[in-house]
């Protein structure tokens, strides 16, 4: 029965998916077709953008631009390849940041679960950490990092970007994992106690598996945060080669080449999708930890 309903739902799900992508495209083109060239403003406050080709290029202009060479320089590769390379570069950094953030977040949550005092002492700082603007910490991280030196190890700029990305990623993991580790039923905790299990065994056998339903949304948020952190930090730190830097550089070209700034934006979207897709994969692998025990 389950497979049948799934099979029946598939085509409509695909249709809705395609519709969801097409709808903004249609809205974009429709407004561009009927909207006034100077945009819509009420009482001097602009509400809707200008519809000139410069401000709102056609969707197909954007797509065409992806296929054209990146620049007029001879031997330049196609734009899509450059965008993919930049996105891949940023994805690597965001991935490193995500891993670091997840490790730190899980570690903090474990500490807070284990010691009540740690919970009281750390939680305010964890929440406070997210109120500091990214722009403020980027130069700090870079400066501190550049002073690190042990032996052959040299701090590189991409590491600063990864650290900032982790700074954004750890927060949802810490909060989600803390909730998840506290999620087991009292009866299960009692049972572990009757098995005379220590904290660590109870954590491995009970708390960690029970936290999976809380952990997965946290990991997804962390993935999105890591990508945003990496993109923004690239700009703040001034790291070349990534999609963030490309967005800023290409935005300057909008005047003569309106399709160009959109290419890295598509790249950034792709980046986000890849990150979220990766977490969905983790969720599929952990499927059995998401079963609910049905009440008798």
């Amino acid at each position: 029965m389950k497979t049948e309903s799934r099979r029946r739902r598939r085509p409509s799900a695909v249709a809705w998916g395609i519709g969801g992508v097409l709808l903004p495209v249609l809205l974009w083109e429709a407004y561009k077709a009927v909207g006034p060239a100077s945009g819509v403003s009420v009482g001097g406050v602009p509400l809707l953008p200008r519809t000139t080709d410069l401000a709102m290029p056609h969707v197909w202009t954007m797509l065409e631009r992806l296929l054209a060479p990146e620049s007029s320089a001879s031997g330049a590769g196609p734009m899509w390849l450059a965008v993919l390379q930049a996105a891949g570069f940023t994805l690597g950094i965001a991935g490193a940041g995500w891993l670091l953030g997840v490790a730190v977040g899980l570690g903090l949550a474990m500490l807070m679960q284990r010691f009540r005092s740690a919970n009281s002492a750390l939680l305010p700082w964890i929440i406070l950490s997210q109120t500091v603007p990214l722009i403020a910490i980027a130069p700090l991280v870079r400066r501190w990092g550049s002073q690190l030196e042990f032996g052959p190890f040299i701090w590189e700029n991409w590491m600063s970007v990864a650290v900032i990305s982790a700074y954004l990623a750890f927060f949802p993991v810490a909060i989600g994992a803390l909730r998840g580790f506290g999620a087991p039923e009292k009866a299960h905790e009692d049972l572990m106690r009757t098995y005379a299990l220590g904290w660590w065994q109870t954590f491995l056998r009970l708390r960690l598996p029970a936290s999976v339903p809380y952990l997965l949304p946290a990991l997804r948020l962390a993935a999105a945060n890591a990508v945003i952190g990496a993109v923004v930090a690239e700009v703040s730190i001034g790291l070349r080669g990534g999609i963030g830097r490309m967005i800023v550089e290409f935005a300057a070209a909008a005047g003569g080449d309106p399709g160009k700034p959109w290419a890295p934006i598509f790249g950034a979207v792709l980046l986000g999708l890849a990150a979220v897709g990766f977490v969905a994969l983790i969720g599929a692998l952990l499927r059995r930890y998401r079963r609910g025990e049905q009440a008798a």
Partner: protein
Amino acid sequence: MNGRTDSLTTPEGGGAVPVPAVHVAGVHRVFGSPRSPVQALRDVSLSIAEGEFVSLIGPSGCGKSTLMRLVADLDSPTTGSISVFGKSTRQARLDQDYGIAFQQAGLLPWRTVRGNIELPLQTHGAAPAARRARTDDLLDMVGLSEFGGHYPDQLSGGMQQRVAIARSLAESPKLLLMDEPFGALDEMTRERMQNELIRICAETGCAVVFVTHSIPEAVFLSDRVVVMSPRPGEIREIVDITLGTAGARGAGLREETSFYDAIRSVREALHGSEPAAVRGAETR
């Protein structure tokens, strides 16, 4: 560990003075703050012999579950002492001297039936082969041999509870603590589970502390029924049930007059001296 008197008293099985499975002496348990104390148990003393099946019965909130939790070392008495096989409850817990089952089966939903039963064995470092063999035996005992690979959410409530019982028996304990294990089951399943439990008890010979609020259930299963009064929980009376050994009891016992007589005496103990208004067996 610290070679105390308990190791001196009796070597395994052969002592002149039998060590009771559970010995409760003058236990009080007070919850809440000193300013507004709630007395859950008052001066409870009770001794349960090896292999004996004892039910704790009483109205809701009479402290029968609290008493069981004290024996399981999930809670500590305010005053008084409890020993399990002559050891402190803590030592008994660390030594895995008892198995426990709760009202909710409490199976880990991400583990298969087999995984759930194996859990205690696994955490105490049993070899995989021995674990497997033991789990096979237990699955067989509770009649779930074909369901080892199922997940708890694929089982009915009665089956889940059977898994929980198998799990509580995993370490071959000589004492079983059960807190209303059949409380959430329908009547038919419940009677079947009672039949199975009494068979398992006959097979394993373990002592059982069984918390319930069903009089027929207590009578059917027990050698003695401990009747408790409402808060503060005290032992009002201990009723001896002389319906034969666990091995001799079967489903047919529920039809016999001796069964009804025992039910009546437990009910009279529960309701105090005044005669019970309702006639006939309460079918729960």
